[in-house]
Symmetry: C2
Subunit: 141 residues, 2 copies
DNA sequence: CTGCTTAGTTATACTTCGCAACTGTGCGTG
DNA sequence: CACGCACAGTTGCGAAGTATAACTAAGCAG
């Protein structure tokens, strides 16, 4: 079977793809899409950000992000405002409604996962905590 | 703010989302989309599968999978054939061209990741190997 | 003012997905 | 056998997300 040193890259890639697909399928109806929720969470955590900052965080083009922000503005979740210091920039900020949705979405997003994690041993959770840090380091490298 | 032991679920979810987005941006072969490549790889690994089997593996509806298979058929990467044992079923199988694309995609898909993993310590790789198994277990639970 | 750069928007196209309506096949029951 | 139900797929429609490319607008030299 799976010797862990055999092909860790393929193994990790497939495990990540698998659980990511599970995340998507656990997402409740009516909820905003993945990209939109990601923007709301980023704004809730960091305050107002420019379009370019948002697009860099999500690793998408500014064109794509502009459309995602359009959907959020239409839904009343965020506001656009010109940066007073640089008229080319737009500062995007959550509305109160958007901040609330961000908090709910974030809680719901991980509720299924937290239930699974609660079934693991402390040692297993520690392994996953270490792995999370490693994965994030790799992703941001 | 960022106590990993406090909210492991959110931490793991965000790490997975982040590296998954990195996977997407590292993939160069723009020819086929993610879902289509996933189907080719599944078929290359398992031989012919029915539409329902494919849709369950990818956790999508049969309608979505049917369209993905349509695109692959149009591109000449897979063939459809009725199951002789059950006329309702379709057996989907890679063409030689599809098998080749699957092998290339599979290798390319993890080449970036393997390069990163090579920079880690053996202990870190062991942590990720354990975590992969745990993540897969959670995803399939 | 002219020209270049940066920030963002809009238009178009493509992939993926779910939902719903539909066809066609298999199978059991009266 | 005929009818009806269950199962396997297909198709059409709409939504989200993405990239590319062409465009506007603002800042910044010179």
């Amino acid at each position: 079977m799976r010797d862990t040193s055999h092909d860790l890259g393929a193994d990790l890639q497939s495990a990540v793809a698998r659980i990511y697909s599970r995340f998507r399928s656990e997402r409740s109806e009516g909820e905003l899409g993945d990209a939109a929720v990601g923007v709301l969470i980023a704004l809730a955590k960091n305050g107002a950000l420019t379009l370019t900052e948002l697009s860099e965080r999500a690793r998408v083009t500014t064109g794509s992000m502009s459309q995602t922000v359009n959907r959020l503005v239409t839904g009343g979740y965020v506001d656009r405002a010109r940066d007073p210091a640089d008229g080319r920039r737009m500062l995007i900020e959550t509305t109160p409604a958007g901040a609330e949705v961000a908090a709910e979405a974030r809680a719901h997003r991980v509720s299924w996962l937290n239930a699974r994690l609660a079934e693991l041993t402390p040692a297993e959770r520690a392994t996953l905590a270490e792995a999370s840090a490693l994965i994030r380091r790799i992703a941001d490298s």
